[in-house]
């Protein structure tokens, strides 16, 4: 890369001796535009073709508000559960050897491969009051299927691979020498974990959490089988969109779709920015 080109780029890209910026960014932006942005622009244009106050009215109907609460709330819980348990699973898979480890490693991706409808049907079967797990929870007064708990369970299932598969490679790359050094210097296990391991793995964990969250917010197929789908109580926003569509109300569907998209976008942008800022700080410290 010539100095002139680097200087030209430096207005909006930090100078670097590494090549390929234009090529890779070009490919990224081109694909992004063709596959994601243009189709989503169609949605925005559709929703934008109605007056703003109408859009606001549709977006803030009590039923829509109740569905956001469920969709975003259950997604947050599910993503948090996944972050905690997904990390533990990834840790066990990377750091320990135990019987069945390969099997466990192999099945982590199944929630992706299973059509969401199948996951939903399977979960509803297992967690319904007569199901294998549901029948044990029923006497305890815990109703999973057809309640918001069921929504959380379904969203946890579909989001699990994100956290495990994000953390796994990162955990494997943690610099063992640093860890050993920390321990030999007398740092306790918790200290080593917090100061050495966590900072290195945090970007990946944050990524996994973000992805699990994002995926959960939009999920439809598996949830409708295990949620009761009762208006105001167990109705998720994607279902509300489908309901609008069934009434040939494309505008209403596009409006709700736009609301979901906007909230998710802001949520993701915030997490990514925080993560980037944190990573930059960590990197600076390491240097």
């Amino acid at each position: 890369m010539s100095a002139r080109a680097a200087a030209y780029r430096s207005r909006w890209v930090e100078p670097s001796i590494l090549p390929g910026f234009n090529l890779t960014l070009g490919i990224s932006v081109a694909f992004l535009t063709a596959i994601v942005l243009i189709p989503i622009a169609a949605l925005v244009l559709k929703a934008g073709s109605m007056p703003l106050d109408e859009l606001w009215r549709i977006a803030t109907e009590p039923r829509a508000l109740a569905s956001y609460r469920l969709s975003f709330g259950a997604s947050l819980i599910a993503a948090t559960l996944n972050a905690v348990f997904g990390f533990i699973i990834a840790w066990s898979l990377v750091r320990y050897r135990f019987p069945g480890r390969r099997f466990v490693d192999a099945i982590i991706d199944l929630p992706f491969a299973l059509p969401t409808a199948v996951s939903g049907i399977a979960l509803a079967t297992v967690f319904s009051p007569q199901g294998w797990i549901g029948r044990w929870l029923e006497p305890l007064g815990i109703q999973v299927a057809y309640s918001w708990v069921g929504v959380v369970v379904a969203l946890t299932l579909i989001g699990l691979p994100f956290v495990v598969r994000s953390v796994q490679p990162a955990l494997a790359e943690v610099d063992a020498t640093l860890e050993d050094a920390a321990e030999s210097l007398g740092a306790g296990r918790f200290m080593t974990f917090r100061r050495v391991i966590l900072p290195t793995v945090a970007p990946a964990l944050a990524t996994g959490f973000t992805l699990a969250l994002a995926r959960a917010i939009g999920e439809y197929g598996s949830v409708i089988f295990i949620a009761g789908n009762l208006p105001m109580r167990t109705e998720i926003t994607p279902l509300l969109i489908v309901i609008k569509l069934e009434q040939y109300d494309y505008l209403g569907a596009a409006a709700l779709g736009l609301v979901m998209l906007s909230i998710s976008f802001v949520l993701l942008l915030t997490i990514n920015a925080l993560n980037g800022w944190r990573a930059a700080r960590a990197l600076g410290r390491r240097r």
Binding site: F21, L43, S92, A113, P203, I241
Partner: protein, 302 residues
């Protein structure tokens, strides 16, 4: 399996305290997985084989199932390579450079995750449907996109778009740029640097990305359901076929096809394990291969 590649640090398990931690963590992992994943999967398999092996085999070899398998695999064969090329390019740009609007770019890449599958299907209908923006033009030229194969590919592309990129970005960010910078400053060209320095250190992440993308491409239901048209034997993918069978009260058939999808996912995992194993034996023979770019770097000696 990465652990095996990296060498499990079993020595840490010497004292009793870490042994308790170890057992507790493995226990928690297994319990969580059992409740949320293994039991439902067993339920699927249980239904699939409920009527015996013959019925199972009949279900998965019916012409409609086979045409669904073909459609699903063809779709994945188109979608996965495209998203892999994109993913690698995007990860390189994002991890190796600092530029304005990076967070925005990352977020836009994430966006398809949070787009409800229903919306992912709907946007293509809004674009290419008969009432859509390009509908009349497509109609005049007798091109069908939605309710045909191209629509299924497009919807799957959108839904699985971020998977490879999102697996690569954190790993590449974590590894920094020093190794590549060193390679370049020693005169290696860009492609050499990428293939010799970057790729070896991101291969597991790339592999995971491809596997996830593939699994998701084969399993996608919601978006494809919107653009498929549900024409039997023509535009029904495996997940749609599962739903059709389920709706016909053919539980055995539905779960048999679902188990076939699980089998395909497991096949890719087995392929991955095999490759890893191969990689592991190689690695042992050549002990100086770097773990990451922070150490002795092959690109530099190249």
């Amino acid at each position: 399996m990465i652990a095996a590649a990296q060498g499990v640090r079993a020595d840490a398990a010497n004292d009793a305290g870490s042994r308790v931690v170890r057992i507790a963590l493995i226990g928690i992992s297994l319990l969580f997985l059992t409740l949320i994943l293994i039991v439902p999967v067993i339920a699927v398999l249980g239904h699939a084989f409920a009527d015996g092996l013959d019925v199972y085999l009949a279900a998965i070899t019916s012409p409609e199932t086979l045409s669904a398998v073909r459609l699903t695999l063809t779709t994945a064969a188109i979608v996965v390579p495209i998203n892999t090329v994109f993913g690698v390019a995007a990860a390189w740009a994002i991890a190796k450079f600092d530029f304005r609007g990076k967070h925005l770019l990352v977020t836009l890449i994430d966006l398809p995750f949070s787009v409800s599958p229903v919306i992912a299907g709907l946007v293509f209908v809004l674009l290419f449907g008969a009432q859509g923006r390009l509908g009349p033009w497509l109609d005049a030229h007798d091109i069908s996109i939605v309710f045909a194969f191209p629509g299924i590919v497009l919807a799957t592309l959108l839904v699985t778009f971020p998977y490879v990129a999102r697996e690569l970005i954190p790993v590449m960010q974590m590894q920094g740029r020093e190794a590549e910078e060193a390679a370049i400053s020693l005169g290696a060209n860009g492609w050499t640097t990428f293939f010799r320095v970057t790729l070896p250190s991101i291969r597991w992440a790339l592999l995971y990305g491809i596997i996830l993308c593939n699994a998701r491409a084969m399993g996608e239901f919601g978006a494809v359901a919107v653009v498929s048209g549900h024409i039997r034997g023509l535009t029904t993918t495996m997940p749609l076929h599962v739903e059709i069978l389920y709706n016909e009260y053919d539980l055995t058939g539905a779960f048999a096809v679902a188990s076939l999808l699980m089998l395909l996912a497991l096949l890719t995992m087995i392929a991955k394990t095999t490759i890893e194993h191969y990689g592991l034996t190689r690695r042992r023979r050549l002990p100086h291969i770097p773990r990451g770019p922070k150490r002795n770097d092959p690109g530099i000696s190249a």
